[in-house]
Symmetry: C2
Subunit: 408 residues, 2 copies
C-alpha cells in the first residue's frame, strides 16, 4: 500500500523546493521570473514555492533587480542565518567543532588538544560535549550535528564498532553525545572522517568521481563515484589504510602486518625524516609546528628529509595507482598531513600512477593537495548537517506567517 516508490505530488513539491534552494545557493539573489527560467518551473509554481520557503524562514526579499532585459522584479535570496550546520570532530590528538551558516560561511571553529586514545571513550565524549556546547552556545537554528570519527562507523546506529587509531571498540557516540548535551538523538549523525572529507572536497570542485585520502598517523579513504559517496553495505567502505601492501611488513595499529598506513602514515614519515631525539619526533610539539620544520628542511634541500618525502611519495603512489585502476576518478585529493607537503609528494605519486594505471595518462586522474587541510572532516560534517535542508527544505518547520504576524 502507498509505497514511496512512485513519484508523488508531495515528493515532487519537496524536490522542487530543494531545487530552488540549491539554485539560490549557487547563483545568489534572483527574481521569481529568473528562478522560473533557471529551474525550468512555471512562474506560478515558483511563486507558490517561494511563499512556502518564506514561511519556513529560508528566504527573504532582497531588494529589486537592477533591470537588464525584462521588467524589474522583486529579488528573493536565501537567509544565510536561517539555519546552520555543525560539524564535530574526534581525532587522535584533538576534539573540535565547526559551524557554518547556510551559505557555507564559517561562524565558529574550535579545536581542543585531547589525547583521545589515552583518556578513553567516556572522557573523550565528555570533552566533545564541552566543545559542542561551547560552539553551539547562542545558536538557535542548528539543523543538526555530524560527528566525524576516524575508523569504522555504523551510521544507522550512531556507533563506532572499531577505530584502531582511537583505540575504540563499540563506542555509542550518538547516545553518548545526546546524554551529555541538549541535542536530540535524531539530530546527531556519526560518520567516517574520510567520507566527510570527500564530501567537503566534492563541494569545492566540479567533478563526480573523486578519491580523498586522509593523511595522519592512520590513512583513510573517501570515495565518490558518479556524484555519490561509496559507503558499502555496512558503511565500512574506504578502509584503504589497511590494504595489506606488504603482508610480512611491520605491525599496524589494527594488529595486522604491512598495512599501507605503516608505509605512508605520519609515523612512517617522521621515522624516515629524523632520529628519535629530533624535535620533529616530539609528540609534545604541535603537529603544525613539526610540519613547518619538515617543510623548512625540505626547502633547504636537506637530503634525509627529501629522501624520506620521496619514499613516502612512491609508496603512496603505488597504493593510489590501485585506487585509480579500480575507480578511474577525475581527481585524487591528498588530505591531512599530505596537504602540507604537496610540492614533494605530488610528483612521485603522479609518476607511480602513470606507470601503474592501465588507462593511458592514468585515465586523466589529477593528484592535488587538499585546500581544506585538516578542517576537511568538520567542514564536511557541517555541510552534511546542512544537506538535510538542501535535499528537503520541509525539515525546517513553518515558523512565521508570510503576510502577517503569526498568531500567538
Amino acid at each position: 500500500m502507498g509505497q514511496s516508490r512512485p513519484a508523488d505530488q508531495a515528493g515532487l513539491r519537496r524536490g522542487n523546493l530543494a531545487l530552488l534552494v540549491r539554485t539560490l545557493r549557487e547563483h545568489g539573489a534572483l527574481s521569481r521570473a529568473q528562478l522560473a527560467v533557471r529551474s525550468g518551473l512555471s512562474k506560478a509554481t515558483v511563486s507558490s514555492l517561494v511563499t512556502d520557503l518564506e514561511a519556513r524562514g529560508l528566504v527573504h526579499d532582497a531588494g529589486v533587480s537592477a533591470g537588464g532585459q525584462g521588467r524589474p522584479g522583486q529579488l528573493v535570496d536565501l537567509r544565510p542565518d536561517s539555519v546552520c550546520g555543525v560539524g564535530l570532530d574526534v581525532h587522535v590528538g584533538h576534539v573540535g567543532a565547526l559551524v557554518t551558516d547556510l551559505s557555507g560561511e564559517v561562524l565558529v571553529h574550535r579545536k581542543v588538544v585531547v589525547d583521545v586514545p589515552g583518556i578513553g571513550p567516556e572522557r573523550a565524549l565528555d570533552q566533545l560535549a564541552l566543545v559542542a556546547n561551547e560552539a553551539m552556545a547562542g545558536l538557535k537554528n542548528a539543523i543538526g550535528v555530524t560527528v566525524s570519527v576516524p575508523g569504522l562507523v555504523d551510521t544507522n546506529a550512531g556507533t563506532v564498532p572499531f577505530s584502531p587509531r582511537l583505540r575504540w571498540r563499540d563506542v555509542a557516540v550518538a547516545d553518548g553525545l545526546a546524554a551529555r548535551t541538549d541535542l536530540p538523538l535524531d539530530q546527531i549523525v556519526v560518520e567516517n572522517d574520510a567520507n566527510l572529507g570527500a564530501m567537503a572536497e566534492l563541494s569545492t570542485m566540479d567533478v563526480s568521481d573523486l578519491v580523498y585520502l586522509t593523511g595522519d598517523f592512520g590513512i583513510g579513504g573517501g570515495v565518490v563515484a558518479g556524484g555519490r559517496l561509496v559507503r558499502g553495505v555496512g558503511g565500512f567502505a574506504g578502509e584503504i589504510g589497511h590494504m595489506a601492501i606488504d603482508p610480512l611488513g611491520p605491525y599496524c595499529s589494527c594488529g595486522r602486518r604491512g598495512c599501507w598506513e605503516t608505509q605512508v602514515g605520519l609515523g612512517a614519515l617522521l621515522h624516515a625524516c629524523a632520529d628519535p631525539d629530533d624535535p620533529i619526533r616530539d609528540p609534545a610539539l604541535d603537529l603544525d609546528q613539526r610540519m613547518r620544520m619538515i617543510r623548512a628542511r625540505a626547502g633547504a634541500q636537506d637530503r634525509r628529509t627529501l629522501d624520506a618525502l620521496h619514499q613516502i611519495g612512491v609508496a603512496l603512489g603505488l597504493g593510489v595507482s590501485y585506487l585509480v585502476n579500480l575507480l578511474n576518478p577525475s581527481v585524487v585529493v591528498l588530505g591531512g598531513y599530505f596537504a602540507a607537503l604537496p610540492e614533494w609528494l605530488v610528483e612521485p605519486i603522479r609518476n607511480q600512477v602513470v606507470a601503474h594505471v592501465l588507462a593511458p595518462g592514468a585515465g586523466g586522474a589529477k593528484v592535488v593537495g587538499s585546500r581544506l587541510g585538516f578542517t576537511a572532516a568538520t567542514t564536511g560534517g557541517a555541510l552534511a548537517s546542512l544537506r538535510r535542508v538542501l535535499e528537503d527544505p520541509t525539515v525546517v518547520p513553518v515558523v512565521q506567517a508570510t503576510e502577517e504576524e503569526a498568531p500567538a
Copy 2:
C-alpha cells in the same frame, strides 16, 4: 529554459510506466487493481498507463484472476516476445551472441572459436558481425545490442582505446559493427565485460553492493555500489587485474610488471598446475575440457593441482581483501574460470579476506562462485539492451491501436 532537472509530468509518466513494467516482470500477471496496490498509484492512473503499454505491444490481457478477496479482474501481463535484448561478446578465444526476451529467457546462444588477438580487429569484427547476423536472423523486435569487450571501453564513443588481452588499440567497435550489419549505430552499445558481468550477477541477487571478478587469462572487475555501476569519469573503472601487487614481478600482457593478473590469471594457474607438455597447457584443447581435467585431478587429491589452486586462492584473496576494505560489498562474485573451481578457491580467499579486512568478519562480505560462469558478460549485455525498455518503456514506439485495428 525547460531543463530536465525538475521532475515534470512527462518524466513522471515515463517513470510510472517503467514502474509497472518492472512490477509485472517481478510478480507476473496482475489485475489493474493489484497493480495499483503494488505500485502505490491510483487505479485511474494504472488504467491509463496500461492502455499506453498495450499500444506499445509491451503488455496484453492474460485471462481473468481466480478471485481471492475482491472481485475477479482482467489480468495484465508482459508480452515476453514483445522485445528482445542482444548481448554480443568479443573475447580472447571466441566471439559470441546471446539473445533473451523481455522475461530474460534465452532465445539464442552462439559462440564461435576465434583467435581474436591473432587475426586483428578488422577480421574479428567480421566474425562478430557474422555471429550477430546469425543470432538476430528472424528477430523483428531487438531493442539494441550491447557488445562486451575485455579492456578499456569508451562507451560514449563506442570504441576500445586499449585491450591488452585482445591486443587492440583504438578500435572503433560500434562503427565497425554498424558498417557490417543492418544495425543502426544508435542501437549499438559497447561495454566492458566485467561491468556487464557485474550487472548480470546483480540481477540474480538482492544486494546493492557487489564486486564481480572476471577470471580468464586476464582479470577484470565490475563494481556495483549502492545499486549503481561504478564506471569512473572515463568509464575505465574496474581495471583491477593491473594493480601492481608485485612491482618487481613477472611481465604482464599490458607491458608492466607484477600486475595482479600475472599471479591469479588462468596462465598462472596452468603454469602452476602442470608442465608444458601436459594437455592442461595445450591451447588447442577447449578450455572447458581443461577445466574438467583440473577438477578431476583436484578431486583425486593430486598434490600439485591442490597446491596450485591454493596458491591462486591465497593470491586472489589478498587482492580481494583490498577491494573489500575499499568497497565493503555484500558479496564478491567469482566469474570466469574461478567459477569452475569454487570448492578449492573460495576457502583460501575467504581466509585472506577475513585476515586482512579491518571490519570484523570482513564486514559481512560473502565470496561466491558465479552461477552464470562464462555467459555472464553476454547475459549482462542482453540485459543492458533490455534495460532501455525497463527504464523508459516509451523507447518502444506505439505500434497498434488498442481498441481497433490501427489505421492503414
